[in-house]
């Protein structure tokens, strides 16, 4: 299905009472504007910090209940957008699914593969629809690239090079800085998107080398060298304090694609690759990029709501794929090497200090 953000809102969605659980940066910048874009008002906004819940309720409009604990208001909603610190994803999502609620769970599904398995199991046993907030599956360029590769139009994929980083990030609470709550830094955040995209586009990972700049806290910069089961090799670079290229370059025997990670941008060599139809789209006809988050979050939200009202599957269901992803992230941290930064060397040279290592 192709979504147009401007098409009329679906009246059936209005019967779904939605809670937003966790009122941090992503709820404020993504989910609540998406609800507004679809002309939907949340029924409940929950945050341990009641003031944040109230502030976002005012922002969301309507008559949303602003509460500190969703568990006291289970009768007030049918579906929940869970945007909590990562360590709460598993307990809260399994609890919601056991109560028959539909859940749109922000990525990562959970911190560990074991927690992800619990969630997958809870989803199987529940009537609720579980979707995972892998927002990049909703960019049309990303979808076209997946379909193009799958139909063989790029030939055999030989290499890839993905750089994702911004000079600054916005964080509303300290959870993202605390390993015990977030499970990790830039790899657990941006990296999960990128690794998900690699698995989605190119298939499973055979082996990797991983480096990051953690000295016991959450890493801000990370690098991965990957070899895929398909034989393709590639590099991933991630940063929370550097502006990186923000694209994925994928090279196959039939050409090369450069895909914008935050928008619809596409470049191809040869340029004629863009004229190929894949998954019902032609690359050149994908609309120009937008840096706004609300339209893309609205697509994700609409997809989940459609699955709820039709009994279908969301585009990114909460299945074993996320267990694989969590295991890959966990393996990266377990096999971490130090990312050598030239300006750290003088600090470490000549000292016997025990350098604490990653999460």
């Amino acid at each position: 299905m192709t979504w147009s953000f401007r098409r009329p809102r679906d009246a059936r969605w209005r019967d779904v009472r939605i809670a937003v659980i966790g009122c941090g940066t992503i709820a404020e910048a993504g989910h609540v504007p998406a609800l507004k874009a679809l002309r939907l008002a949340p029924a409940v906004l929950a945050d341990r910090d009641g003031a944040r819940a109230r502030a976002l309720a005012a922002e969301a409009g309507g008559r949303a209940l602003a509460v500190e604990d969703y568990r006291d208001h289970l009768d007030a909603f049918d579906a929940a957008i869970v945007a909590l610190p990562h360590h709460l994803h598993a307990p809260v999502t399994t609890d919601l699914l056991r109560h028959g609620k539909h859940v749109l769970l922000e990525k990562p599904m959970a911190v560990t593969p074991e927690e992800c398995e619990q969630i997958v199991e809870a989803a199987r046993a529940s009537q609720g629809v579980l979707a995972i907030g892998m927002i990049r599956h909703f960019w049309q360029n990303a979808q076209w690239v997946r379909d193009l590769i799958r139909q063989g139009s790029l030939g055999e994929v030989q290499s890839f090079d993905i750089r994702d980083g911004a000079r600054a990030i916005s964080i509303a609470s300290e959870f993202a800085l605390r390993p015990e709550m977030s499970g990790g830094g830039v790899l657990m955040n941006l990296g999960v998107h990128v690794l998900d995209e690699i698995l989605w586009w190119l298939g499973p990972v055979e082996s990797f080398e991983y480096r990051d700049d953690s000295y016991g806290g959450n890493e801000v910069n990370a690098e991965l060298d990957l070899r895929l089961v398909s034989g393709a090799r590639g590099t991933v670079e991630l940063s929370f304090n550097r502006q990186l290229r923000g694209t994925a370059i994928i090279t196959g025997t039939q050409g090369e694609l450069e895909v914008e990670l935050y928008g619809h941008g596409l470049k191809a060599t040869p340029d004629s690759l863009l004229d190929i139809q894949a998954g019902g789209r032609v690359g050149r006809e994908i609309p120009p990029s937008s840096t706004e988050l609300a339209p893309i979050f609205a697509r994700e939200l609409a997809d989940w709501l459609d699955a709820i009202v039709t009994g279908g599957m969301p585009r990114v269901p909460g299945d074993e794929h996320h267990v694989t992803l969590a295991r890959l992230v966990q393996d990266c941290y377990a096999n971490r090497r130090e990312l050598e930064l030239p300006w750290m060397r003088p600090a470490l040279a000549g000292t016997q200090a025990e350098v604490p290592h990653a999460v």
Partner: protein, 370 residues
């Protein structure tokens, strides 16, 4: 059996140190060195978690709050053995003064043994045109930032004299290196977007000091008993000019943006806004762009690049104080820091800039998207 962690031979090992401004440039590096080289337990006061990502790579304790918030300061000092005050709020600058007073009171109330205030050479601005600058040189503090820094120094001194505050003041000079807003990031921004005018034909003395040397001086001021009650100028080991300094950035990024000028010409041309747009900048108008494309083809890209560099807007020093800073032939005397802090700067310009250049490339400042 796992080997015992080796505790570094530092008097700060195991000590709890609060770093205000620990999410920033100098404070962030102090925090890194305290943890990694000295085995200290570091607490950082953070008002913006997004800015704290760099220091949160380390096993530090984050305390939420602003360095202008007296309650947050009190909470942050509680339980600390020593404090580095490196925060400076550029919003309501004068509010930094009562906040520093409150911090000093919290230090005394909670019995912390040392408070190191990271001031600035700016208290000496406008700097003398020649001679030797030392801790006893005049402190005209001729603009707001400098006046606020000086007022805080005076607060510290008053509290030391009247109430026995164990304070030390460190006045770093031109601190550059990875993440330096004033002397690395802003200069390269200027060099990338304009022609940077250097007074005194670029031959003024730059007083550049690599951030690690400053961090080491601050840490020595925390640990050395003889530092209490003293002020220290902290500068680099070698005498370099502003041409050397900015030229290092030009070479690192492959730019040709410096424009040395006589100081009197700079003073004559300086506008209140500090930036004079050259008439040739008009060539950047959309109408002219088509012509530029043609010119590129006619003269070739390399020659075109040289022409384009000469057509950039001119960036003059923003103020007369800054012009004096770029024109001075004075030298900074760091003998007091050497004597009482054991300060031994390790990074001459060549070494410091080599590392900074690595950082700039790693940060991709040589790329169009950065």
């Amino acid at each position: 059996m796992p080997s015992e962690p080796t505790i570094p031979n530092s008097p700060l090992a195991g000590r709890r140190v609060l770093v205000t401004g620990g999410t920033g440039f100098i404070g962030g590096r102090v925090a890194e060195k305290l943890v990694l080289e000295h085995g200290a337990r570091v607490r950082v006061l953070a008002r913006d978690y997004g800015r704290a990502v760099r220091v949160a790579r380390l096993p530090i304790e984050l305390v939420s709050g602003s360095a202008l918030d007296e309650v947050a300061l009190d909470r942050a000092v509680d339980g600390c053995d020593a404090v580095v005050h490196a925060a400076h709020d550029f919003g309501d600058e004068w509010a930094n003064v009562p906040a520093a007073r409150a911090l000093a009171e919290a230090v005394m109330r909670h019995g912390a043994e040392r408070l190191v205030y990271v001031s600035s050479v700016s208290v000496h601005e406008p700097v003398p045109a020649e001679g030797v600058l030392d801790e006893e040189s005049p402190t005209p503090a001729g603009f707001r930032y400098a006046a606020v820094k000086l007022a805080i120094e005076q607060e510290m001194e008053r509290a030391r004299r009247e109430q026995g505050l164990p304070s030390v003041v460190v006045r770093p000079t031109i601190v550059y290196g990875p993440y330096s807003p004033p002397w690395t990031l802003q200069p390269i921004g200027a060099l990338r977007s304009s022609r940077v005018v250097l007074p005194a034909m670029g031959q003024g003395h730059s007083w550049a000091v690599y951030v690690d040397d400053v961090a080491d001086a601050i840490i020595a001021a925390l640990a050395r008993p003889e530092a209490v009650g003293e002020r220290f100028l902290v500068s680099g080991p070698d005498q370099v000019t502003w041409s050397d300094f900015f030229g290092s950035y030009e070479r690192a990024l492959g730019l040709h943006s410096l424009l040395p000028m006589e100081t009197e010409d700079v003073l004559r041309a300086q506008s209140p806004a500090g930036v004079v747009v050259s008439p040739s900048a008009l060539l950047r108008t959309p109408l002219a762009r088509g012509g530029i494309q043609v010119a590129k083809r006619v003269v070739g890209y390399q020659r075109w690049r040289g022409m384009r560099d000469r057509m950039q807007p001119l960036q003059f020093p923003a103020t007369r104080e800054q012009t004096a800073l770029y024109a001075t032939k004075a030298t900074v005397d760091i003998s007091k820091a050497r004597r009482l802090l054991g300060y031994a700067p390790q990074f001459d310009l060549q070494r410091g800039m080599a590392i900074t250049s690595d950082y700039l490339h790693w940060s991709q400042f040589d790329q169009p998207w950065a």
